[in-house]
């Protein structure tokens, strides 16, 4: 008598036995009650969807890592005052600040630059969320 499952609980023995029965039966018996053509289509669809979902998760994870690296780089390498002024002057949507840019202290320019970068990152994040 073959009893390879020893003292395992009934449910485990049943599942292991069921797998063995499924593996050893003919394809004809395994396909009993199934539509072979539909099964292949289903399998291809499920695998395609699975790969797409994993791709999306990987992409989101990569973007998140990039944004962290970018934020760290910004903190590690603050711009010069001249670079910050040039950046702020180039932003069309910062007209109020740009108008008075020459009157701002160096400290205020760097602070404004930092705020503008934060807003930019937040806007990028919102756009990504909207895409998903």
């Amino acid at each position: 008598m073959s009893n390879p499952n020893g003292d395992k609980p009934g449910n485990e023995k049943f599942l292991n036995g069921l797998v063995e029965e499924l593996q050893t039966m003919s394809d004809t018996d395994a396909l009993e009650g199934e539509n072979a053509e539909a099964l292949v289509k289903l399998g291809e669809r499920l695998l395609k969807s699975a790969r797409e979902e994993v791709g999306k998760v990987r992409m989101a994870e990569a973007k998140r890592k990039l944004s962290v690296v970018s934020a760290l780089q910004s903190a590690d390498n603050p711009p010069t005052v001249a670079e910050a002024r040039n950046y702020l002057a180039s932003r069309a949507n910062l007209t109020l600040a740009a108008r008075g840019l020459n009157e701002l202290s160096d400290e205020d320019v760097l602070d404004l630059f930092s705020q503008a970068k934060s807003l930019e990152r937040a806007a990028d994040g919102d756009a990504e969320d909207g895409d998903g």
């Binding site: 036995g17 797998v19 499924l22 593996q23 396909l31 695998l47 790969r51 994993v54």
Partner: protein
């Protein structure tokens, strides 16, 4: 002096996993087997059908979140992963698979270190074994009233397989094959919440 061949990695590499899954979905017989098993495991899961369960298992395997021990059949591999997903879904109805795909969790290391022969199943924890009774019960209900199939399921639950079943029940090969074929049909008809 002849250098010994380097041992292959303990787990399948990404290309090998891709190839194994491609082979599975192109083979109607293999798909029939895995889907029948998925119906049994998904039975009683809240808002998750066999196809959802199989797809989630595929996602974890594709993402490399469940390592595939070399030598383990596709059916056994997916059995283990589907049971793991089913267990989490029962434990946490709001379980979000995407979180599992992101970063490693404690459960992953537990699953990955499971013995090859058992696939990747969560039976080590008694609480899991208790919740898992629903799988056997699902099939018992499906065959209720069909004496031959009730005997076959009971024999499987006792750990018998193949010729052992035929000997125990006093069946000849023809009777055993016929019973197994009928069980296969019942598993095709097994309904889940989402089917």
């Amino acid at each position: 002096m002849v250098m010994p061949e380097p041992e292959p990695p303990k787990h399948l590499q990404r290309a090998e996993v891709d190839a194994a899954l491609n082979s599975l979905v192109r083979d109607s017989g293999a798909m029939a087997r895995v889907l029948k098993l998925a119906r049994v495991i998904a039975h009683g899961l809240p808002a998750m059908g066999a196809e959802d369960l199989l797809q989630q298992a595929m996602m974890l395997v594709v993402a490399g979140r469940r390592k595939w021990p070399r030598g383990l059949s596709t059916l056994l591999m997916l059995k283990g992963v589907m049971r793991s997903v089913a267990y989490r879904t029962r434990r946490k109805p709001n379980y979000v698979l995407a979180e599992d795909l992101g970063s490693p969790s404690e459960d992953d290391s537990e699953i990955e270190s499971s013995p090859i022969a058992e696939g990747v199943c969560p039976e080590a924890d008694p609480a899991r074994a208790v919740q898992g009774e629903s799988e056997l019960l699902a099939v018992q209900k499906a065959v209720n009233g069909e004496e031959t199939l009730e005997l076959l399921v009971e024999a499987l639950a006792e750990g018998l397989t193949g010729k052992g079943i035929a000997q125990e029940l006093g069946w000849d090969q023809k009777q055993y094959d016929a019973a197994r074929k009928r069980l296969s049909r019942r598993l095709a008809e097994l309904k889940t919440d989402r089917s």
